[in-house]
């Protein structure tokens, strides 16, 4: 199996490169699609694009209608139609032809036809009915590719009513010998289950078979169905718990083929899926939960590598641990894990940490305590998403003591971002809910502006769905509060309640009798605890409410009591009088309290009118018209929206700076783009071609720059490798080409630009592990060369970089100048030439002056690979200064050295190391050696490991990660032959080392 994969892999590059070069090249100049795309990218306005595409669509329309169009041409036309649709232009006339293409085309044309169908049509489109027979035919085809295509299209969209027509054929595919067909069939059934669950009821037993399929891929696919089934009805699937636990244990233990690894983590997405299933199974079920504790703990322990994908697993694991029946030991570990997330400098992890924390503080509010400072910092974060999550968290931990601070924070936040609807929505809810619990606790001691702010929040905003919901929610919760015991509610809260009920009770009118709120308010008036001020608020609310006959009667009742039973308070008497009059005169009431005018405040309107003259004067004098903050924000949004223009600046710039065939253009997708905000994976990137040009200073201080030496003449100065301090103050060059820079300065510049970027990979890591690389780069200059070839002075470039292991150093040498680039003039200087440095000092360098820069490379932590990139600047006589870029990968194995220990010492070390990792590796088989010996020898040869001992089917191996001469961090490997694979167990005191080493072991063995 793995042999096949290997062959495929080795064949891939050549095949793909041929194709892709041809692909871009073939399309761009000649083909119609190429022309279309090129035409569109050259345009500068949306309008021009419209015109062009309209024209294109016309021509497409003509062509598809023509009877002479062959299927082959149709395929090409369809691709263009897809392109137009993708850009948002309808090509509905081509839909029917897409179906035709899928029906009648050859395999390749069919593929485009199906693709077009799946992009053009919706599940409910009637056109799809025309496709049913084609799908059925293709499902029964003997051509695997056709079957695959049909299954793919079926899993994307299929008319619900036609499922019975193809169901038997799809079911049949569950027993197909090819795993890819079985997988796709399972997914198609999953899709059927989603859109028409009843139709697939009868095949549940087949799902079980898929779950037990010998191919892990098919099993993975069946988990989608099971996740769904278990989510809907966990009780019926409790018996699967054991199987799920076993599968997870196997996956975590690395029992799956290496194909399933992603950045050396075994099948991470599968792990996540299983953890989700376990969460549903173990929820509120102690017995089931107990079955999974062990594997959950193992998952937590295993997922230690510093990579996003392991964090994804950890996050899911934590979620599961908190969902299933609690086990204190696990909860502790999960809490610790959440803590690490929260404290992480990576914003994504911090966010997830906050999210997890929000979830867990419901169970134990103390969990948030250690993170107070972080939480407060997050409140000030520039990312609204983080802020919102933090507020959500704060909301959950609000209690009587901290409420004032938290509410203050929320209001502050609200004031700053009051134009962001979604934020207002959230803060509104948070404040709302908080108020209910909080007003009742400490309402009276609160500053009056807090309830005021809250009311303003409720009243402000457009009358949209959310606001309505929020208000309705407030009204409902207050009504239920008033129905209970009200004596203990603080006065200020009662006032808030009255106001809200007065304003927004109409929202719930349809579902309750109109008098109920009135009665509740009246009851409030009857209570002795109610203060005079509150009473006046209540009366005010009643005034707004007395629209129905029931309420009018109630209101009259109340008023009579106040007016005639001798209340001495004038305010109350006045309010009661108002209520009395307004409740009886509906017309007057409608004028004073218009129903639709609830949201506006009439005083404000009138108070502004007298300023009209002033405003018009000011406008005449050239002042800008006033814009409300809301309007201004809208303008801002519009400005932002302008950048939606497809022809913003960035596109033409990026396209003009690269020709279409230039593949290494500025638009090159950088796999390790730092902009994505994730730097963990950088160190795992193999194919990274991008130079990192920032961040060098952080890692490369002056310490890195150790020495320089330059001398002129035909004989090289003998150079001896010396410890840095001795090398440093050497004489400056006696003959220097016309470089404007001071040599020292130049070197420094060189040094800093040379090592640009190395550190940026590790800028986020927490542990600083100084492993040292000695790096030699020689910059040779020569004069007085007379017999050199007069040839083109080629720009100097790097034609090879090598690194060699030597004793306790890694030597990096290389950076060669083009050998023929010479000049005859006496005063010429050779482009810097650097030759290989072997163990002895610089034999090869003849006839050139040599300068050596000695630099210490510090790797902050063990990682699979680091990129050393830089810029070498040089200057030819009378020429402009030039620069050449180079980059060079240093892999972990350059930093590894054998560690010679005895078996006894090995045992002691083994027990003391905390970070471990297990994985199955491939065994190397040779004719004349035991597989174990052969494998270990291969590892030893490639990675400089020390084989401590081999006993039977087990072997122990040790190595250290170089930190400088004679120092290092150890990593121990325990290998055991298990069936036809090698079970390797790595342990080290350094967290990242086992992972990175494992990666290289895998690689070394795959290459063997």
């Amino acid at each position: 199996m793995s042999d096949v994969v290997e062959k495929t892999l080795s064949a891939l590059p050549s095949l793909l490169s041929l194709d892709s070069q041809a692909g871009a090249g073939k399309l761009s100049p000649s083909s119609k699609l190429g022309n279309l795309i090129k035409g569109i990218t050259e345009l500068t306005s949306k309008h021009e694009e419209e015109t062009l595409i309209k024209k294109e669509l016309e021509s497409i329309k003509e062509q598809v209608a023509s009877p002479n169009t062959t299927m082959r041409q149709m395929k090409e036309i369809m691709v263009r139609a897809i392109y137009c649709e993708m850009l948002g232009y309808q090509a509905s006339f081509s839909y029917i032809h897409a179906i035709k293409l899928a029906q009648q085309g050859s395999v390749l044309e069919k593929r485009v036809g199906y693709l077009a169908v799946s992009l053009f049509l919706n599940e409910t489109d009637e056109f799809l009915l025309l496709l049913v027979n084609t799908v059925l035919k293709d499902l029964q085809s003997t051509n695997l590719i056709e079957v695959c295509m049909a299954l793919t299209v079926v899993s994307q969209m299929f008319p619900k009513d036609m499922i019975p027509a193809i169901l038997p054929v799809v079911e049949e595919k569950l027993t197909h010998p090819k795993e890819i067909i079985r997988r796709k069939a399972v997914l198609a059934l999953y899709k059927f289950y989603l859109i028409a669950p009843n139709q697939v009821q009868h095949i549940h037993s087949k799902f079980r078979k898929a779950l037990c399929d010998k191919d892990p891929g098919v099993m993975t696919a069946s988990l989608h169905i099971y996740l769904q089934l278990i989510k809907e009805n966990p009780e019926s699937y409790k018996d699967l718990t054991g199987s799920m636990v076993t599968i997870l244990r196997q996956v975590v233990g690395g029992k799956l083929p290496l194909d399933f690894n992603y950045h050396s983590v075994p099948a991470p997405w599968l792990q996540i899926q299983l953890l989700r299933i376990l969460a549903y199974l173990g929820k509120e079920d102690q017995g089931t939960s107990e079955m999974m504790y062990d594997v959950l703990e193992e998952s937590l322990r295993r997922a230690e590598m510093n990579h996003n994908i392991t964090y994804a697993i950890l996050f899911e694991c934590v979620k599961t641990i908190y969902t299933v029946h609690p086990k204190s030991q696990l909860l502790e570990k999960a809490a610790e894990c959440i803590g690490n997330f929260v404290l992480s400098p990576k914003i994504n992890l911090k966010y997830l940490g906050l999210k997890a924390l929000t979830y867990v503080v419901q169970q134990d509010a103390n969990l948030a305590l250690p993170h107070q400072m972080t939480i407060i910092e997050c409140l000030d974060h520039s990312d609204v998403i983080i802020k919102r999550e933090t507020l959500e968290l704060l909301f959950r931990i609000t209690n009587a003591q901290n409420v004032t601070v938290i509410v203050e924070k929320m209001l502050e936040f609200l004031r700053l971002t009051c134009d962001d609807y979604s934020t207002i929505d959230l803060v509104g809810k948070v404040a709302e809910l908080t108020m209910n619990s909080v007003f009742s606790l400490g309402g009276d001691v609160m500053q009056p502006d807090i309830p005021n702010n809250f009311l303003r929040l409720l009243a402000e905003g457009v009358d949209n769905v959310e606001d309505r919901q929020l208000r309705l929610f407030a009204v409902d919760s207050y009504v239920s509060l008033l129905q209970g015991e009200t004596a203990k509610l603080p006065q200020r809260f009662l006032q808030v309640i009255s106001w809200v009920l007065g304003e927004y009770s109409y929202l719930r009118e349809e579902e309750s009798d109109p008098g109920s709120v009135m009665r509740l308010l009246a009851r409030l008036l009857d209570q002795r605890h109610t203060s005079t001020e509150t009473r006046s608020w209540v009366l005010g609310a009643m005034t707004k409410l007395c629209s129905s006959p029931v309420s009018v009667a109630l209101a009259r009742d109340v008023c009579e009591r106040y007016l005639y039973s001798g209340s001495l308070n004038t305010v109350l008497r006045q309010k009661a009088q108002e209520l009395m009059i307004l409740s009886q005169d509906t017309k007057l009431r409608a004028r004073v309290l218009p129903a639709e005018g609830r949201l506006e405040s009439p005083e404000v309107d009138s108070s502004l009118s007298f300023l009209d003259g002033y405003v018009s004067d000011a406008l005449a004098a050239g002042a800008a018209p006033y814009k409300s903050p809301h309007q201004r924000q809208e303008d801002l949004v519009q400005e932002k929206a302008l950048s939606l223009e497809p022809y913003g600046l960035s596109l033409p710039v990026s396209l003009s700076s690269c020709s279409i065939t230039d593949r290494r253009s500025p638009t090159l997708l950088s796999m390790s783009s730092g902009l994505s905000g994730n730097s963990t994976e950088l160190s795992h990137q193999e194919g990274s071609t991008t130079l990192k040009l920032e961040g060098v200073k952080r890692v490369w201080g002056k310490d890195g720059y150790l020495a320089q030496q330059q001398s002129a003449g035909e004989t090289p100065t003998p150079l001896v490798e010396l410890p840095s301090p001795l090398l440093s103050p050497q004489s400056p060059p006696s003959q220097k080409p016309s470089s404007g820079l001071e040599p020292d300065q130049e070197k420094r510049q060189l040094a800093s630009s040379l090592f640009v970027g190395l550190g940026s990979h590790n800028s986020v890591c927490l542990v600083r592990l100084p492993s040292t690389v000695w790096l030699f780069i020689k910059n040779c200059q020569s004069a007085n060369q007379s017999n050199v070839v007069k040839s083109l002075f080629k720009p100097f470039y790097i034609n090879s970089c090598q690194s060699k292991n030597h004793g306790s150093f890694v030597k990096v040498s290389g950076i060669f100048a083009a050998r023929k680039s010479c000049q005859t003039d006496d005063s010429c200087c050779f482009p810097p030439q650097i030759s290989c440095i072997s163990g002895s000092p610089l034999k090869e360098v003849k006839g050139h002056s040599v300068s050596v820069c000695l630099h210490t490379v510090v790797m902050k932590r063990a990682s699979v690979q680091v990129e050393l990139a830089g810029l070498l600047s040089y200057q030819r006589p009378l020429g402009q200064p030039q620069a050449a870029q180079f980059s060079l990968s240093l892999s972990l194995k350059h930093f590894l050295r054998p560690l010679t220990v005895s078996t006894g010492d090995y045992g002691k070390m083994w027990l003391s190391f905390s970070h471990d990792l297990k994985q199955n590796l491939r065994l190397v088989t040779t004719e004349h050696q035991e597989p174990l010996t052969a494998t270990l020898d291969a590892l030893k040869g490639k990675l400089h490991l020390h084989v401590v001992d081999i006993i039977g089917s087990e072997g122990i191996v040790a190595c250290r990660l170089l930190q400088g001469p004679g120092q290092g961090q150890p990593c121990l490997l325990h290998c055991r032959v298990h069936a036809d694979s090698l079970a390797v167990w790595l342990r080290s005191p350094v967290p990242e080392l086992p992972d990175s080493l494992l990666y290289h072991c895998q690689k070394a063995l795959t290459e063997t």
Binding site: I37, Q90, S643, S665, S676
Partner: protein
């Protein structure tokens, strides 16, 4: 609140709602929908996503829980989030359920890009532009029925190679 829940239950439980690839200027490079939208909604969503994602910088999270106004009428998008990642000038966005595992999808995107890189041999935006229909095939191999279907790069590439050999 009841209304929301009801609606949520009635929508199919698939996880990925759509996948979008856009460049910085908002040009669509790929749009794959796993849920029903009409053409106007699609265009609106594309614009919304672009507006939401491009204003965010590297210091921000790669996740946005945001209401997409295009679908305000159905109130559904409150339950979703966009997970995006920027590669050079391209934004790769996946819209999933709020309860889904953010990092898993973030890495799903990365896995996808790694496959593209392998397939196109150092992929650049122009590869995706000129071979957009091939990119759809890659998407179909890796994501199906709104789920992550295949995560093994070797297997995806093998399958793609087989399809490629037809041409």
């Amino acid at each position: 609140i009841t209304f929301l829940t009801l609606h949520f239950l009635s929508s199919p439980a698939i996880q990925i709602r759509f996948i979008l690839i856009q460049n910085r200027a908002g040009k669509t490079r790929l749009a794959k929908w796993y849920m029903q939208f009409d053409d106007d909604e699609k265009q609106k969503l594309i614009e919304e996503v672009h507006a939401v994602v491009t204003v965010r910088d590297a210091k921000h999270t790669n996740f946005v829980e945001v209401r997409l106004y295009a679908c305000l009428s159905c109130l559904q998008f409150r339950n979703f989030k966009i997970i995006y990642r920027r590669y050079a000038g391209l934004y790769f966005c996946i819209c999933v359920d709020v309860t889904d595992n953010n990092l898993a999808y973030l890495e799903g995107i990365h896995n996808f890009v790694e496959v593209l890189n392998e397939y196109f041999h150092n992929v650049c935006e122009l590869d995706l532009v000129f071979n957009f229909y091939k990119v759809y095939t890659v998407v179909d191999e890796m994501f199906l029925a709104g789920e992550i279907r295949e995560t093994s790069q070797t297997k995806v590439l093998k399958q793609l190679l087989m399809l490629q050999s037809l041409e």
